[in-house]
């Protein structure tokens, strides 16, 4: 659905200057029919200790609601430079978000984790609705979320 060339945030670029190999990764997030308004969804990368590394995608345009994506909000410190150009519309109940990004090879199988925070108006906030390691082995395997995510998978 959405295809963009992705260069992870400056932090990662600086941290891993020697590595230039990249590959295309598709992230597919299917939501439950939770029956509320459009969901705000943040996909982001953390290190093994859960420390924020960079933003992959934010669904939902109104920044005043971003604080409800609390894990991501804390990590990114809601600095617009962290998510500039990586935002889209909020996701309607039951629909699927599919995004394709170019990821550095160095991020794979190196203890990094993909996390998804979700929030819906007048309903619960889900910090780490999904938290899965980014590995070669994990590719193509769907996992269920704890909150509004019915299933999430990434494919190389």
């Amino acid at each position: 659905m959405k295809k963009i060339v992705f260069a992870l945030g400056l932090a990662i670029a600086v941290a891993l200057p020697a590595l230039a190999q990249a590959r295309e990764v598709t992230f597919t997030t299917e939501l439950l029919n939770y029956g509320g308004d459009g969901a705000y969804v943040a996909l982001y990368l953390t290190d093994a200790a859960g420390n924020y590394q960079g933003t992959l995608w934010v669904a939902g345009k109104k920044s005043k609601y971003y604080k409800h994506l609390s894990g991501w909000a804390r990590g990114s410190r809601l600095n617009p430079a962290e998510y500039d150009g990586l935002t889209g519309a909020s996701i309607t109940s039951g629909r699927t978000l599919k995004i394709t990004l170019n990821l550095d090879d160095a991020l794979i199988d190196s203890g990094h984790e993909i996390r998804i925070d979700t929030a819906v108006e007048d309903m619960r906030d889900n910090r780490a609705d999904v938290a899965v390691p980014l590995t070669i082995e994990g590719a193509g395997k769907a996992v269920a979320g704890r909150g509004y995510v019915r299933s999430f998978r990434y494919d190389f």
Partner: protein, 741 residues
């Protein structure tokens, strides 16, 4: 212009507005329902720390505690990896019920704000809010113009049917609708970036936290300082992450709480703009203001009725001002009739004049006054029939007349006659026809008067017919004008009972009780003839068709439709055609009658004293008001007759009413037996009491003959003097009503 502004958007948007209103009314219940389900401790009794401590005991996996605007506390938790949400009792921390937003309300909400059409629908809903705003404002202005001033808005309204319902309901609902429309417009304007929006990101996460051993949530000092009533939301730290913090949002602002030290970090008070926005949302939704929600919901429920009655009014207006048969072209006509009408009553007279002149061989052109042509080349006669609207203004179909008159070129031999219609009881009787210069303006245009301006009181058919006779003489063709109101579809009434008084004192007066004669039988399935009378109340009028096709005469009703009888009190006039006819009726005889509503003559609702004053047969509606006084409001009757032996009308009934307190006081005067006392004398004798009642807001209703009414006015003016007020003032407040014949 104002009317188009009110009607056109209303008509086009009514379907959407009705949808918004009904869904809005349903949503308005939500705050009250939520409030009823919530356990709400008094302010200052439970702190957020206490609440969180209790909740965690029952829900170890608590992730988030939210206090809804209606006071309900919801806990979002995770148990064995499964998410859940419960409504909890803040006093114990125990779950009350699983919390699940109602799918129905969510759907209704979606329908309300976007017609289930996402952004396009939201935009439409926003446009509808603006339309509603326009309709409300133009409606208020229309109502002000119609009633004759801002102060008059709270008085009883005149008019009947759809028009009455429309303005009564609108008067009740308009403030609520205005508030809903205004806040809805604001919210929509913000959403689509037309109005500025304060978007508050809240404070940034603290860079440093103590990272120490987490303390129990119930012991955190920053949370102890916040009362439950101020809480909006408390988000717990991610499990086993010592670097994480509690995120706290209160009505005053937001910040973070260190999970080891309990210190409040980075607290940021809410911006003023955001507080304002929150208020707008509350005023629109009733969140946290459940009583307002119910008021707004009730107001919204009026919208479907307002739409239907509004469309009905529009349709009636279109239809009854429509084409007349044999209407000559303006350029061909030798006779022109122009009509100024607000509620179309005047059109009935115009039609009669039109038909009559047509029959006499004239080429007649009839149109509304607004359609005044630049000239009428063939015309030698111009008739202007106009009513007066509100405070002496032009009625709807004459509003542009004065402006058009400046372009009007009169032919040399054009003569004119103005006929005004109104109600003599109102101070601005026929003011538009006379004082506001329709007559004078035509004279200054160089036209010569065919006949001086004349005034018709309360659609009097006999006055109209007399005017026709005079005009007929002037134009050399007899005109037999018999006006009968458009809506006078008559019903057969059977006399069931009569009580006769006053024969001994040469004032034969009878109380006549009728019932609807055409009930049952197979004819009731025929759609053509109305078999039952429309609803009526004491004080309304019964139109009676006298024999030989005369114009109807009107009698004040002493009964209400709910009593199942039609009761009038009739004095036999010497040589009176209709009263003589009625007096000759025997039980079982039939008459043809119809109802004319007279809502301007009703006692006020509420607990203020009502002073009823009448003489002779004028007691009819007054007795009816007393009979209906089930709530035992203070009512005083001053009534004058001739002899207590002969014409004490309603004597047994009045005795009963005094006993059961429907009537508080009765004061009678009998001119033959009481040393020539009239009802005015009784008022004078009782003046301190009357004055005292008036000073506490009493309403006066007078019913009877013209001379008696004039006498009563003199006495009441005298009584009012020490209060520094006068009848005109009371009249303007709806506190001095007359039904005079």
């Amino acid at each position: 212009m104002l009317r188009q502004l009110h009607g056109l958007p209303g008509l086009l948007a009514s379907l959407f507005l009705v949808t918004l209103a009904i869904t809005g009314a349903v949503l308005a219940l939500a705050p009250a329902i939520d409030r009823a389900a919530a356990v709400i401790p008094p302010d200052g009794e439970v702190s957020v720390a206490e609440l969180a401590g209790r909740v965690v005991e029952h829900y170890p996996g608590t992730e988030q505690i939210v206090r809804g605007r209606s006071g309900g506390v919801i806990v979002y938790y995770s148990r064995d990896g499964q998410p859940g949400a419960d409504l909890v009792n803040p006093l114990t921390g125990e779950g009350v019920a699983p919390y699940e937003p109602s799918a129905f309300f969510i759907w209704i909400k979606d329908l309300h704000r976007s017609f289930l059409l996402d952004d396009a629908g939201r935009m439409l809903a926003g446009v509808m809010a603006v339309v509603m705003l326009l309709v409300c404002i133009s409606g208020i202005l229309l109502l002000v113009r119609r009633t004759g001033g801002w102060k008059a808005m709270i008085r009883p309204l005149a008019g009947t049917g759809s028009k009455r319902i429309h303005s009564e309901l609108a008067r009740f609902a308009v403030l609520g609708l205005l508030l809903s429309a205004l806040t809805g417009t604001y919210m929509s304007g913000q959403r689509f970036g037309v109005l500025p929006e304060t978007s508050e990101l809240g404070p940034a996460f603290p860079a440093e936290v103590s990272g120490g051993q987490p303390a129990p949530v119930g012991s955190l000092s920053a949370l102890s300082d916040v009362d439950l009533s101020e809480l909006r939301e408390l988000v717990f730290p991610y499990p086993n992450d010592p670097q994480d913090v509690y995120s706290l949002t209160t009505s005053g602002g937001s910040g973070f709480v260190d999970q080891a030290t309990g210190e409040l970090l980075k607290y940021q008070p809410r911006a003023e703009g955001s507080v304002f926005q929150q208020w707008i949302v509350s005023l629109h939704t009733g969140e946290g203001l459940w009583w307002l929600g119910l008021i707004l919901g009730a107001a919204a429920l009026m919208v479907p009725v307002l739409s239907v009655t509004g469309i009905t009014i529009w349709w009636q207006r279109r239809r009854s001002s429509g084409q007349l048969p044999d209407n000559a072209d303006a350029s061909q006509a030798d006779t022109v009739i122009l009509v100024g009408s607000e509620s179309n009553a005047t059109w009935g007279f115009a039609r009669e004049l039109h038909t009559s002149l047509n029959k006499a061989g004239f080429q007649v052109h009839c149109n509304e006054m607004n359609a005044l042509a630049d000239n009428y080349p063939q015309a030698s006669r111009l008739f202007v029939l106009t009513s007066t609207y509100g405070d002496g203004d032009a009625p709807a179909s004459a509003r542009r007349f004065m402006a058009r008159l400046s372009d009007f070129r009169a032919e040399k031999n054009l003569t004119y006659a103005v006929l005004g219609f109104g109600d003599r009881q109102f101070p601005n009787f026929c003011q538009f026809a006379v004082d506001v210069d329709v007559d004078a303006a035509l004279a200054t245009k160089g036209l010569s008067r065919l006949n001086a301006v004349e005034l018709i009181d309360r659609c009097s058919a006999s006055q109209f017919s007399e005017w026709g006779d005079r005009v007929g003489e002037l134009i050399g063709t007899p005109l037999a004008l018999t006006y009968s109101p458009l809506q006078s579809a008559t019903v057969k009434l059977e006399l069931v009972e009569r009580a006769d008084y006053g024969i001994a004192v040469q004032a034969p007066t009878s109380i006549l009780r009728f019932k609807s004669a055409e009930q049952g039988g197979w004819t009731k399935f025929l759609p053509k003839t109305p078999r039952t009378l429309p609803s009526f109340e004491a004080g309304d009028l019964l139109g009676v068709m006298p024999p030989h096709g005369e114009a109807p005469r009107f009698y004040s009703l002493a009964s209400s439709a709910t009593e199942g009888i039609v009761e009038i009190c009739v004095r036999k006039q010497p040589g009176g055609l209709c009263s003589g006819y009625l007096h000759n009726l025997k039980p079982g005889d039939h008459i043809d009658g119809f109802i004319r509503h007279n809502p301007g003559f009703r006692p006020a609702i509420g607990n203020i004293p009502i002073i009823l004053i009448g003489a002779g047969a004028g007691i009819g509606p007054l007795a009816g008001f007393i009979r209906k006084n089930a709530s035992r409001n203070p009512m005083y009757l001053y009534w004058g007759g001739r002899s207590s032996q002969s014409d004490f009308l309603y004597q047994p009934e009045l005795g009963r009413y005094l006993e059961d307190q429907r009537l508080t006081g009765l004061n009678t005067a009998f001119s033959r037996t009481d040393k020539g006392a009239y009802v005015q004398d009784r008022l004078m004798q009782d003046q301190s009491h009357v004055r005292q009642m008036i000073s506490t807001g009493a309403q006066i209703l007078v019913c009877g003959g013209r001379d008696m009414a004039a006498g009563v006015r003199l006495v009441i003016e005298d009584i009012l003097k020490p209060l520094h007020t006068d009848i005109e003032t009371l009249r303007a407040q709806g506190r001095y009503l007359e039904d005079v014949y």
